[in-house]
Amino acid sequence: MRVMAAKKPQVEMPKQDVKERIHNFEEVALGYSEDHALGEAARCLSCPKPQCIKGCPVEVPITEFIKLVKEKKFEEAAKKIKEKNALPAICGRVCPQEEQCQKLCVLGIRGEPVSIGRLERFAADWERENVDPKAKRFKQTGGRVAVVGSGPAGLTVAADLAKLGHRVTMFESLHTAGGVLMYGIPQFRLPKEIVQAEVEYVKSLGVDLKIDSTVGKITTISELLGGGYDAVFVGSGAGLPNFMYIPGENLKGVYSANEFLIRTNLMKAYKFPEYDTPIRVGKKVGVIGAGNVAMDSARCALRLGAERSYIIYRRGMEEMPARKEEVENAKEEGVEFMLLTNPTRFIGNKRGFLEKAECLKMRLSEPDQSGRRRPEPMEGSEFMVEIDTAVVAIGQSPNPIIQQTTEGLQTTRHGTIVVDEETTQTAIPGVYAGGDVVSGAATVISAMGAGKKAAKAIHEYIMAKKARAMKPSKNSRRGS
């Protein structure tokens, strides 16, 4: 029986037909049916000492929830995941499981690992579609926490602390919660209704959400600490787009990936003029970069009507930082890859519109001491690529507003916030930080992992503070 399971391949998840999907923003991956899920769950060996869980930054009890799926206890399966992960429908869709839990699955040694992500998604979707959410109340500690940013890190901190009985207020700069889950990841990969459902779940735990509230502007961290909050968590993300700073980058038609995706996803420019936010996409779109954000941009471009959509990347296929699955999806949809190619300037017409990019051919050096092969330009290899829209997707830096407006916060020269690795506490006592604002642009799940760690530390900090206040020592000068 066990041997059989190992040999069976993963149950495939149906996808929207490629000819259809390049014309719409509906979700590409359609999810498991009950039969699919039962078939895939049956492959799990329920290892007594599961390895998979070690690969999960938020420690989802994987074998336990899969066992519940096997028993058709889908609601219980979802609840089991939610003991550790407040955002399972999101993680089931966007986590790089192949690099995490699934990489450690013993079935993967001889065959394909259990498709943990697809099962997580199934359980979460089943619960959302079949169970009415109920607001929950937890025994209150009296502690109050301000969470800056409502992206993956902030939502995780907020959910965990609410469950521990703290009163949490989440401050969101935009008009809707979710951070990068709303403005960055496209609808066809992560439907916004699902993000909002998981945000609603976090709110149902008692978390208060304040939108339109840019901390650093409408209020500051020191005002929050002075105004009754015991602790502050900063999860303001990596929102500042990087540019190449090459000539012509401010021509009309050159977008940052952030702008391109914010207009498309958050503001729903693909529904213009029903929605008021416009976007202009030409016939030939060149996306500079090869991470997940670049793949998302190139795939959005096709759906927005581009005839050709290129990934322009200075390294090779092997070096692309995007998830394999996303690269495959992009290829299937007709995204073309211009590898070992680096733009050196953008050239526009007389009216300031982008017409083409001058690029250099690159070659990869021999591996250096770190084993990394650096791209080097080939002299005299300049050539022109005709594009009328360019999307610069070469990474994001931390948003500077918090750092600019918070005295005493230590930052690196990259603008990231310095924290204690164990506790995530910043240089200011009671102020914690995690996610992209600390690590630089990374994944949803690593931000959630940081959020978990922070929640634990914040809880301990507040409880210790309360204990001190309850039992005033000789040295204590004040009652609170």
């Binding site: 700069s173 008009h175 502007k217 401010n250 914010i262 008021d276 936010t277 300031g352």
Partner: protein, 271 residues
């Protein structure tokens, strides 16, 4: 939701709103802006704050109805609400004692200019002000401008009131050296003022309002070349050294979505 406490018509197509947003009002300073969104399908767009009353918890917004979103905004009345309002964004104008200063404002931005002038006057500056508009009927808030300045000049593009055009500024600059110049208004006017003060090397602060989406440094839509470097108006500005701004690029970028705006307007007015 942010309730509109007061609505006034200042000129043809120019409206004033006092909007209830106490937390924003408490922090608002001259030079700041807000990003608003009127309804669920609306776009996010910036409006420069023209005044703030922390006691009443309100901020003042003055805008011209030129596109679909601003027309929709103009149709709202007292008691209606704006769905989203985020601010105060951008860096505030640097208010200090400069000495003898010149403040030049045009169009709907005269409100924001007066907000600046009051603070600058409070800091002990002597203010020569120029306020302008297309024509006499488009001039706004002259009384307020007068009381916020020590000397007031009026100009219109067509000469229907005060000086015709901005050229007379050249004469003023010939006669008097200013310690600092502030200008806010149509981009062409800010550019003209900067060009006139350039020969005298009088420090000239402009206030830019390119296309923005989030207003917090995320999208980069508002990027502008200042002194050869790319800056984001929202987080590095909106005040910049007027002698260093690449106006051609800025004005060109501000027109990028004109075709889309036309489509939106045709569909909107047809409804």
């Amino acid at each position: 939701m942010y309730a509109i406490l007061r609505k006034a018509r200042l000129a043809p197509n120019v409206k004033l709103f006092d909007v209830y947003a106490p937390a924003v009002a408490a922090k608002s300073r001259p030079g700041n802006f807000v990003i608003i969104r009127i309804h669920e399908k609306g776009e996010r767009f910036p409006i420069t704050i023209a005044d703030a009353d922390p006691d009443k918890g309100s901020i003042t917004l003055i805008f011209a109805e030129v596109g679909k979103s601003s027309k929709q905004l103009g149709r709202l009345g007292e008691g209606d609400s704006i769905l989203n309002l985020s601010g105060p964004l951008g860096n505030a104008t640097k208010i200090e004692k400069y000495g003898d200063i010149l403040c030049v404002g045009g169009g709907v931005m005269v409100g924001a200019l007066i907000y600046q002038m009051r603070a600058l006057k409070g800091a002990g500056n002597r203010i020569t002000a120029i306020v302008g508009a297309r024509s006499e009927e488009h001039l706004i808030m002259l009384e307020e401008a007068k009381s916020a300045s020590d000397e007031l000049h009026i100009a219109t593009d067509d000469g229907s009131e005060g000086h015709e055009g901005i050229d007379f500024l050249a004469d003023i600059l010939k006669q008097k050296r200013f310690d600092h110049v502030f200008t806010i208004g149509p981009m062409s006017m800010q550019r003209a003022v900067s060009e006139l003060t350039r020969p005298y090397q009088t420090p000239t602060t402009v206030n830019l309002f390119p296309i923005m989406v989030d207003g917090t440094g995320m999208c980069g839509s508002c990027r502008v070349t200042v002194g050869g470097e790319t800056k984001f108006s929202c987080v590095h500005g909106p005040d910049f050294d007027g002698h260093k701004v690449d106006y051609d690029e800025l004005i060109s970028r501000m027109r990028f979505y004109n075709p889309n705006e036309k489509i939106a307007m045709i569909l909107f007015d047809g409804r």
